[in-house]
């Protein structure tokens, strides 16, 4: 993405995200009270984040690659299961990948 395209995307995406927030403040309450709508929104969040985990962990261009990212993700999962705070989880994953790469893993 060129710098200009990135800027356009930054501004447009920010406007979209703000518009969604504002709509929530303007619509009558009962419009969004439908449980199916609320649940679907929550599931969309889960699906997007899960897909992003997978893609960030193994995708490289159009290929699926197993490298230092996967063991790092496993370490992050263990840290999360032990209720480590967000920052600790992220740092542990980075350290794991950095260490494995220093030892010669891709």
């Amino acid at each position: 993405m060129s710098p200009t395209a990135t800027w356009v995307a930054v501004v447009v995406a920010s406007a979209v995200v703000f518009a969604i927030k504002l709509v929530g403040h303007l619509v009558p309450e009962h419009w969004l009270a439908e449980p199916r709508v609320a649940r679907t929104a929550s599931l969309v969040t889960v699906a997007l984040l899960s897909a992003l985990v997978a893609v960030q962990a193994v995708a490289q261009g159009g290929d699926l690659v197993v490298d230092a990212r996967l063991p790092a993700l496993a370490v992050a999962a263990v840290a999360l299961a032990l209720r480590a705070p967000f920052v600790v989880v992220v740092v542990l994953a980075a350290l794991t990948a950095a260490l494995l790469r220093a030892l010669g893993m891709a």
């Binding site: 990135t6 930054v10 927030k21 599931l43 993700l73």
Partner: protein, 263 residues
């Protein structure tokens, strides 16, 4: 939370809300460092990184945006992914708007500050001054610290150089895992875990064939199908401001009420 009796219980409520707001703001703001560093690692400039934290101001959407940009996705895919992850903020509005009663410019400001954390803290207190204090202090506190720490992280990321050497690419995956984790655990997470598994399969199976960013959107389509077609559970499981949505699992433990999800 224990409430001590005092001559002015309402003021105590407000004070408790402000205290809670500040602790949430510090915890959330801190991981703005990871956002700043990862954004620069994904190829965004310092200015673009700061624009995201100032203008978009929604952690999940921001991480998703830089994730798509970093994997060479199209601008359209980046906008769509960030927008879809911002949909839940739209569902928070109807919950906080009646508490705030804001109009005009204040309403615009309230909208911008409507995120997981401000909604969780605001709705955790009885309607009135405490709820308003909880929302505004959390929103403003997170906004200030999130942006400050984004700047710090971006400068740090710039200084580090090759992001892979420091495992920052793995850190991005871990950040998404940490964001989704609270939504997968707990009693009500069964359907969520199912959708998560389907999303992972759909995204990875199509990665070799579709342009970057599109497999992630396909996963969202799976969720919409499941969400609209699966029978709805008894009332009450619906539009509660899911406190587990708060970004930082750590703040969730002591600050926010859970509806029976915790033993």
């Amino acid at each position: 939370m224990t409430r001590v009796s005092s001559p002015d219980p309402q003021r105590d409520e407000v004070r408790a809300a402000v205290r809670q707001a500040l602790s949430v703001a510090v915890a959330t703001g801190l991981y703005g460092v990871s956002f700043g560093a990862l954004s620069v690692a994904a190829g965004l400039s310092l200015g673009q990184t700061m624009a995201l934290s100032l203008l978009m101001f929604s952690g999940g959407s921001q991480f998703a945006f830089i994730g798509v940009v970093g994997s060479a996705g199209t601008p359209a895919a980046a906008v769509a992914t960030a927008g879809l992850l911002g949909v839940r903020n739209g569902l928070y509005g109807p919950q906080v708007a009646p508490l705030l009663g804001a109009h005009g410019g204040r309403r615009l400001l309230a909208a911008q500050l409507t995120i997981d954390e401000s909604t969780a803290v605001g709705t955790a207190h009885p309607p009135g001054p405490a709820a308003r204090a909880g929302f505004w202090w959390t929103g403003a506190g997170v906004f200030a610290l999130w942006n400050l720490f984004t700047l710090g992280g971006a400068l740090l990321g710039d200084a580090l150089g090759d992001p892979r050497r420091y495992g920052l690419d793995a850190a991005a995956a871990a950040a998404f895992l940490a964001l989704v984790w609270p939504r997968l655990t707990g009693a009500q997470g069964r359907l969520a875990r199912l959708v998560a598994a389907a999303a992972v399969v759909a995204a990875l199976a199509t990665t070799p064939f579709l342009p970057a960013g599109v497999p992630v959107l396909l996963a969202a389509a799976v969720a919409i199908l499941v969400g609209m077609l699966t029978p709805v559970q008894p009332p009450g499981s619906g539009i509660q401001p899911d406190p587990r949505a708060a970004r930082d699992p750590a703040t969730r433990q002591d600050d926010e009420p859970e509806e029976g999800a915790r033993p």
